[in-house]
Subunit: 446 residues, 4 copies
Amino acid sequence: MDVGIKAIGGYEEVGRNMTAIRIEDKIIIFDIGLYLDRVQVHEETRTEKMHSLDLIDIGAIPDDTVLNDMKGEIVGIVCSHGHLDHIGGLSKLAHRYEAPIVATPFTVKLIEKEIKSEEKFEVDNPVYTLETGRKYLLTPDIELEFVKAQHSIPDCAIPVLHTSEGSIMYTLDFKLDNNPVLGEKTDTDRLQEINQEENIIAAIMDSTRIKEEGRTPSESIAREMVWDTLHQANKEKGVFVTTFSSHVARIKSIVEAAKDMDRRPILIGRSMEKYVGTAEQMGIIDLPDNVGIFGTPRGREEILKKVNKNGKENYLIILTGHQGEPGSSLKRIADGTLPLEIDEGDQVIFSANVIPNPLTKANRYSLETKLEMQGARLFKDVHVSGHASRQDHYDILEMTEPEHVIPAHGGLDFASSYAELAENLGYTFGEDVHILRNGQELLLKS
Amino acid sequence: MDVGIKAIGGYEEVGRNMTAIRIEDKIIIFDIGLYLDRVQVHEETRTEKMHSLDLIDIGAIPDDTVLNDMKGEIVGIVCSHGHLDHIGGLSKLAHRYEAPIVATPFTVKLIEKEIKSEEKFEVDNPVYTLETGRKYLLTPDIELEFVKAQHSIPDCAIPVLHTSEGSIMYTLDFKLDNNPVLGEKTDTDRLQEINQEENIIAAIMDSTRIKEEGRTPSESIAREMVWDTLHQANKEKGVFVTTFSSHVARIKSIVEAAKDMDRRPILIGRSMEKYVGTAEQMGIIDLPDNVGIFGTPRGREEILKKVNKNGKENYLIILTGHQGEPGSSLKRIADGTLPLEIDEGDQVIFSANVIPNPLTKANRYSLETKLEMQGARLFKDVHVSGHASRQDHYDILEMTEPEHVIPAHGGLDFASSYAELAENLGYTFGEDVHILRNGQELLLKS
Amino acid sequence: MDVGIKAIGGYEEVGRNMTAIRIEDKIIIFDIGLYLDRVQVHEETRTEKMHSLDLIDIGAIPDDTVLNDMKGEIVGIVCSHGHLDHIGGLSKLAHRYEAPIVATPFTVKLIEKEIKSEEKFEVDNPVYTLETGRKYLLTPDIELEFVKAQHSIPDCAIPVLHTSEGSIMYTLDFKLDNNPVLGEKTDTDRLQEINQEENIIAAIMDSTRIKEEGRTPSESIAREMVWDTLHQANKEKGVFVTTFSSHVARIKSIVEAAKDMDRRPILIGRSMEKYVGTAEQMGIIDLPDNVGIFGTPRGREEILKKVNKNGKENYLIILTGHQGEPGSSLKRIADGTLPLEIDEGDQVIFSANVIPNPLTKANRYSLETKLEMQGARLFKDVHVSGHASRQDHYDILEMTEPEHVIPAHGGLDFASSYAELAENLGYTFGEDVHILRNGQELLLKS
Amino acid sequence: MDVGIKAIGGYEEVGRNMTAIRIEDKIIIFDIGLYLDRVQVHEETRTEKMHSLDLIDIGAIPDDTVLNDMKGEIVGIVCSHGHLDHIGGLSKLAHRYEAPIVATPFTVKLIEKEIKSEEKFEVDNPVYTLETGRKYLLTPDIELEFVKAQHSIPDCAIPVLHTSEGSIMYTLDFKLDNNPVLGEKTDTDRLQEINQEENIIAAIMDSTRIKEEGRTPSESIAREMVWDTLHQANKEKGVFVTTFSSHVARIKSIVEAAKDMDRRPILIGRSMEKYVGTAEQMGIIDLPDNVGIFGTPRGREEILKKVNKNGKENYLIILTGHQGEPGSSLKRIADGTLPLEIDEGDQVIFSANVIPNPLTKANRYSLETKLEMQGARLFKDVHVSGHASRQDHYDILEMTEPEHVIPAHGGLDFASSYAELAENLGYTFGEDVHILRNGQELLLKS
């Protein structure tokens, strides 16, 4: 069998992931993501209206023109989960391919929203839903399986392609979490089974946190940290929590803490509605009755007025803005453009890391400076990551024993570090652990 | 009332803590500690045989000659807990003062061991035991109370001096932990009560982690992290855990995890016996029957041979050496001078931070390099601190409202940072939040 | 004699310097500066139109309302040099005081420009010129002397107040440079003479770089570095150099290098004209005939078109934008909004450090990312500082032996570090080396 | 022509460099170095007595057993310069090969000393001297040329192998210095000529400082920095300068500064004699008559007594110990075991960087702590590097246009970074810029 693995995006950056895998003359695309950093650098806020070639030019979406020299029929576009670095380029590039988009139910909903908000292109590829734990026949010879995975958004999959000669595993993004807060554990039993039943020819691996030694703590540790911080909150002061709005498990923990604190949890911000609202509608999360989600500018305005009237101390305000994004709810409160003020001693909990990018750091700095000038107490980095760390990768490689390992999701420094780990497990650089650059293809014969 | 607070040690370094508080003509000394860094720099390993003046000269113990110009009678030497930076200088300096040593039961045991191992001086001060929650009349006018506190060693106290005019609080070291693993929470209710019933004239505060934003997580978070790491350990490989031998709560969590792993926990190293053995004898910790403690070189030798014979996979080996100390058990295993070898894939968990000192970093680097060359997998920093962080200090200052705040336990950079926090609560630099240098005295009239 | 030293601005930040010194009942103000960071955080670009109280509120200019409780007559506003953190608040606050502004000739020119561009207030204080090396009688009892100083802008002074009881030295900003490129050395002979002839009661010291060990290299080292980099520049490519437009000595070195390179030096940007143009008019710098300065948008437009036509390889383009400032010439070239493009292999030399502020780092990141995407080769930090380092301060304290030392120009961390240095020279914290916070006053009797 | 380039050492670390190049059936070895870090980690100070297999085992010297599977005749061992990471393994491994050692005159002297001090093996390979600028016929078909190079030790070469099909360039270590202090510039004219006259098939490149942006400053900048620091030294105090004893150019600058300071320069330490003494004997450096070199313990003892008697202020003491090495002269002075003491205000200049290794950092920390406790003023990092930086590599690649680039001298992170630079010049990762791991071989056909 003749296999080609083509790095399209995400092999020189953390963002705009895209990989094409050719098995004989059939091609499967994995993910078409966005690289937000490049959008920020180019100060373009209206990507919806931009042409794909311009976005490729500024490095914001994968340069899929490299696919031109890969001969074969594209039979599917498979998305592993709903983060923008995995689906954010779909609405710009998917229409170029006559192939269905396949994703898990929650991811499909998010993809549909992406496509709907697109203003430049009309994307009319069929979108198929495949639940985790299930399989789907892409071609008579290639079966796609979605193995359950934990990450920082609901309903993640590790897509595996089964062929007569063995399988190929697209392992981004995931974490090994023995005690998840929402959903089931990454199904390592199934991955081990695949390894035993058939050969794993190649694994594309998520190197985002390969430089973090040890293991990534369980999301249940984050829950404990959130509870610990909230439990001690001053009962007479305002308490704001900001986190990734797509991190539904985290929001579940925060909302549950609100009950213990005897405060009404309210969720504020457009993307809170997008992610949490969708998750609730789909039954992924079951919110208590007293939770309110206020996604529209008007709804936000009104609830904040009400909070102001009833007293902040009766609410747990969960809102967007953890990266200091201009226009986000927390930023606007700090700017003084919403009808709720920060008072001396109010607590602001950042249940998120700072994305390590100078532009984000600047946004956070402005936000934090303003909040502190208004008297807020800041609690930062009440958070654990959703990506596997170095020793988690050791384990997953030991369990799955792929013949070839291809690190993705990061530049040469991450890929190199991944290769060094693989060497500890007996792999040889350039022979069975491979570094690819955007546009390069690895050819495997078996 | 005329009060003098004299900084003797620990106001220009993290280590060798010592403070004298004069109330009218009576003086109470708090802590007499050791600054290990200076011992290391001077490559002296046999401090037991050294004279106090030499140790003062190299900066290893507090320069208590500054007490000469403080007029009054020394009525007590009070130790807050049993760490060496609080009691490690006692055996060198206490005999100069005709005053009893007062400490909690566990601390008293450790003090007695210090005194016994001293080879240069004979320390025969009476040593009194005072349980936390209890009071003791130092003079007719001064009552000492030990308020319960959580830190990273059992049986810690926040000593409070009650006088007719108000009280003085010596608040090092402590953490606010709502869910401790061993012992009770820091008794903030009692501290608030003291504030309400009488005036808190002054508080000496632990600034060690004042630059860490937010809160220090609960020790129960460390327990979760330890369990999380151990739970996933490869069942066929050796598992070593190294932690502070005085951190009995942590060792409790590790030992309990061993049961879940179906491995026999064994504790190896002289100081493991010193701290954990003592804690067990005193009923502070209740170890399962299958736990072995091997403190002597011979005992260590024999159990490791046994481990070797029965298979490492049947044991959870808890041992000294987390800072790479020469002569520690883990270091000697890495050096190949003990009858147990590291094999490919063995796991070594560091349930400790690296003490931020270049000499310690070098020791850790040597240890880690050797372990990794032998194939070990390292899991570092599976740990939470025992010191309060910035926002914890905000809370304790808000609860206790001391008239004067004196940061201790760190140099000018820590003290300055503490002063900035106090300013957020309304204190004024130089007026009611004071920075002292070793040897300086703050005079208060009330 | 009764002396009060009041910290108004610059004692909690690097920026908005302002100090008031009261001698008996006469008050002299030193500097009224701007804190650019706070302007950036608050996203206000039009400070010209803002009211002083609003600027005080956002922390951009010194809060001089603290002067209300200092009794005495204000007899002068003395500016040490022309940087904005020393004169940038004058146009907002000087009119509140019936006192003349006194500065060196070059500084006076810059102050006049500041006042002229102010749109909110009318500042009509008399402005007096005092050359370095000269004295001026502020009152019958107080004589002001401007001691020559080197820094990173022409015509700097260390103002010294002479009184019958001794003198007071306002030593910000300066460097000790034995081999300056422009102007004379900091006149340490004169400072030593003052120390010998009269008592130096107090010295306010520039702590900006107190944490930098050793000495600050001479500006002649920067000249060598610039020449070294330019000398090797590819003869067929564009060469851009960006530096502080007020750093006339640096620009002199760059312009002189152009001759050696056989390229025509052109200076582009509004502030290039402001600073370099002024310096040339005043005879501070003597530019070769072929140098062009293009300060207006139109002039810039035209010269860049000409460069484009004649070939970049014939020019050395010296321009604004070293901090990635929006609207600066280099930023606009990177953005593609000026009629000159970056080509593959063009060299961009940053003869400047990155100001350590997250907002500036973000601006530089955007600029550098764009330049590199266009193929530019970047040469960063071809620069030496204009502020004295730790060992320079050791020397100046040893030479001048002030009775009291007051670190300024930085927060508590800088002031603390300065105090530690002073301790090495025999000073005692809180006794003769003093830390002040904005608004605090030190009272000295002599 | 069939070419194999085998990475033996220095491709996973900075140290123990060794590369073998096979041209048809002839093999040339470049460098056999030592990795000092691994010696330190294993606390072995007597490498002279150790067996090569043990040194390979601890990672201290290259594992040349990988050469077993390279078929061909070894016709020469070529050393580029005399640093230990290039020649320090010769005395352990060279005797295994029946081939002459070829090096420049100064390097040969150092190699001879290495061989003489070896206690385990007898190395009797012939040692041939080849001056820079000259050629030597290794085989009828392979000519070796030594192109002049600047680095931080005298008499460096860039060895080039000329064959009928093109040449191969072994470009470690070097810097581009337009104004060297000693010797001639790196002969880039000759390198360009080689590129024009014949094909450069491959270049092995020094990636040590590839992550340093911009250019490495000229050694003349270091001379200026040294002079600047020394010129301002207090005339009544002791002045100590410590630097790399092999850095003869630097020592030249320091010695010349002594004249200007009117102090007698004395060089102290065994390795000072080894390197500087040798350089003087060979006429590489011409020291003034008043310079003394004291290499033996007894000579050191006596001169320091004399210094003590005559007054430190009359001497400029140049000595070993810049990395805080145990046993070095400066360390021993700080330890108080030599007959000269540090007094308050004495100046210690470190004309060296700190080697970025935790063990060295610990040594420096101990040294600096002791010096400062004794009152010394420290001037650190008065230094520029001897390795080319990123933009220097851009230039040399542009000049020489090698068909294949192989980064050496560092781990994957350095090699990756080098590959990214090469990509900017049009190279393609894995195609014509290659990352090798120790033991791997790159095969080229032409």
